[in-house]
């Protein structure tokens, strides 16, 4: 593979996984390239980023995982995103965590983080301090992790009288029903044939 194409592909893959990152082994498998070439490609990519003043990105290695991240010198720019109390990014995170708790309660922090793929301590704190969620019990097992649920204040906030008024989640694959329909159709064609003889 041409090294430019390899780099474009590595960049795209690392971009899509975000904070989760990828190992050299994973990249090698996904791109069907030797691990040595992946390693070489990663360091070339990193050099490209570092030498390009117009690029805000770099590659960071955490144990055996590589992830795409912003250059350390741009930290002040990123901070602007979270300094504003009405920050869009923060409100999206809180809303997402609240949605997970509302639909999956009771749920632990670890489960929430597994679902989101992002650390969620801060949004949980925020929601708890605003009285929208609270501890509703402890999970079984060694950790006895806190289980979170929504509060009466949550219902007030969204104008609900109880949790059953939450809009239902979509029923997943709509195709399932179409398949069933076909099966019934066949059945009823038979019935129809018999009846109209």
């Amino acid at each position: 593979m041409n090294s430019k194409i390899l780099m474009a592909r590595m960049e795209a893959l690392l971009f899509v996984v975000g904070d989760e990152g990828l190992t050299v082994k994973q990249l090698a498998e996904l791109l069907d390239v030797d691990e040595v070439d992946i390693e070489a490609g990663l360091s070339e990519l990193k050099t490209l980023y570092e030498n390009n003043d117009a690029s805000g990105l770099t590659i960071k290695q955490l144990s055996d995982t590589y992830l795409l991240t912003t250059k350390p010198e741009l930290a002040n720019t990123i901070k602007k995103l979270v300094e504003n109390p009405n920050s869009q990014v923060l409100s999206t995170a809180s809303l997402e965590v609240l949605a997970i708790i509302a639909y999956k309660q009771p749920i632990t922090r670890t489960e929430i983080e597994d679902l989101r793929g992002v650390k969620s301590e801060r949004p949980i704190q925020t929601l708890a301090s605003r009285g929208l969620i609270r501890e509703v019990g402890r999970a079984e097992g060694t950790g006895r992790a806190i289980l979170y649920g929504t509060t009466k204040e949550f219902l007030n906030y969204f104008g609900l009288s109880d949790l059953s008024e939450l809009p239902p989640l979509p029923e997943g694959d709509e195709d399932v029903e179409n398949e069933q329909t076909d099966l019934f159709m066949t059945k009823f064609q038979e019935v129809f044939h018999n009846e109209n003889e």
Binding site: A12, F15, V16, G18, D19, T70, I78, K79, V82, E83, P85, N86, S87, L90, S91, T92, A93, S94, L95, E96, L98, A99, Y103, L115, G117, V118, K119, E121, R122, Q125, T126, S129, R130, F158, G159, L160, L166, L169, P170, G172, D173, D175, V176, E177, E179, Q180, T181, D182, L183, F184, M185, T186, K187, F188, Q189, V191, F192, H193, E195, N196
Partner: protein
């Protein structure tokens, strides 16, 4: 007899458009007798899974029958031969035709959307990064005051989309054992017990789909034979099924239950 296409129709208008196209009927001059007959046949051949929808297919059946009979009226008037005079009555089909044409536009637009859905350029993006390392300690942010419950649902959906969870496909096949004929008698029985009248949905106290479907088919058959008729006060309101001529049930022998 011609094979019923294995398409699920999007309601009675969709079925009518399908028939009009297949029979090469001119939508502006619909032969009502033919279309009505074909419609009745199809609805019987189709399963109708949802009760809600079933009532709409029935309402359309009733509408078609009504238009058909209104169109028959002038033919039987004897005076027609004497004077070549024609009264300009509104065409009883007009409202239906306008509805069909309007619906057709959006049906076609939906097909366009389907193509766009298939050909959409595939740009992948990433979830927002974890910003906690950048976060000042004293800050606590909450969403804007104008979020509603759908924003919440959407947030959840979006998260699910990121995780790409998919449910496994499952299919169920059930055997249908109740003959339509038997169910027709049962329906008439129920109607008699309720003083000759019942709401449509009350005729479907059953849980399983196949019984629901057989009941629906039997209602259609009863309608066709004018044993019952069906009324609806307003669009999408529940139907009332009224027992009309029970004696017509006698001709049931030709139904191969």
């Amino acid at each position: 007899m011609y094979e019923v296409k294995l398409d699920a129709f999007q309601g009675p208008l969709d079925l009518l458009l399908h028939l009009i196209q297949r029979l090469e009927i001119d939508i502006y001059d619909i032969p009502m007798a033919e279309l009505t007959a074909q419609y009745m046949e199809h609805v019987q051949a189709m399963k109708v899974l949802e009760l809600d929808e079933a009532s709409e297919y029935l309402v359309m059946a009733a509408t078609l029958l009504a238009i058909k009979s209104r169109m028959l009226l002038p033919i039987h008037e004897g005076e027609m031969e004497e004077t070549e005079f024609e009264v300009e009555e509104p065409d009883p089909r007009e409202e239906l035709v306008l509805k069909l044409i309007e619906y057709k536009k959006y049906k076609e637009a939906a097909i366009e959307l389907k193509k766009m859905e298939e050909n959409r350029p595939e740009n992948f993006t990433k979830p927002p990064s974890d910003l906690s390392p950048f976060m000042p300690d004293e800050q606590l942010a909450l969403f804007n005051a104008d979020v509603n419950i759908y924003d919440l649902l959407y947030a959840f959906q979006k998260m699910l989309r990121r995780k790409q969870l998919r449910k496994p496909l499952k299919t169920t096949v059930k055997k249908q054992d109740i003959p339509v004929k038997e169910q027709m008698l049962r329906v008439v029985d129920v109607l008699k017990k309720r003083g000759g009248k019942s709401s449509f949905s009350d005729l479907f106290p059953y849980e399983d789909r196949s019984t629901i479907i057989v009941t629906f088919l039997s209602l259609l058959e009863l309608m066709k034979r004018q044993v019952v008729f069906v009324e609806q006060e307003r669009n999408f309101e529940d139907l009332t099924v009224i027992l009309q001529k029970e004696e017509r049930l006698g001709e049931l022998e030709d139904l191969d239950g």
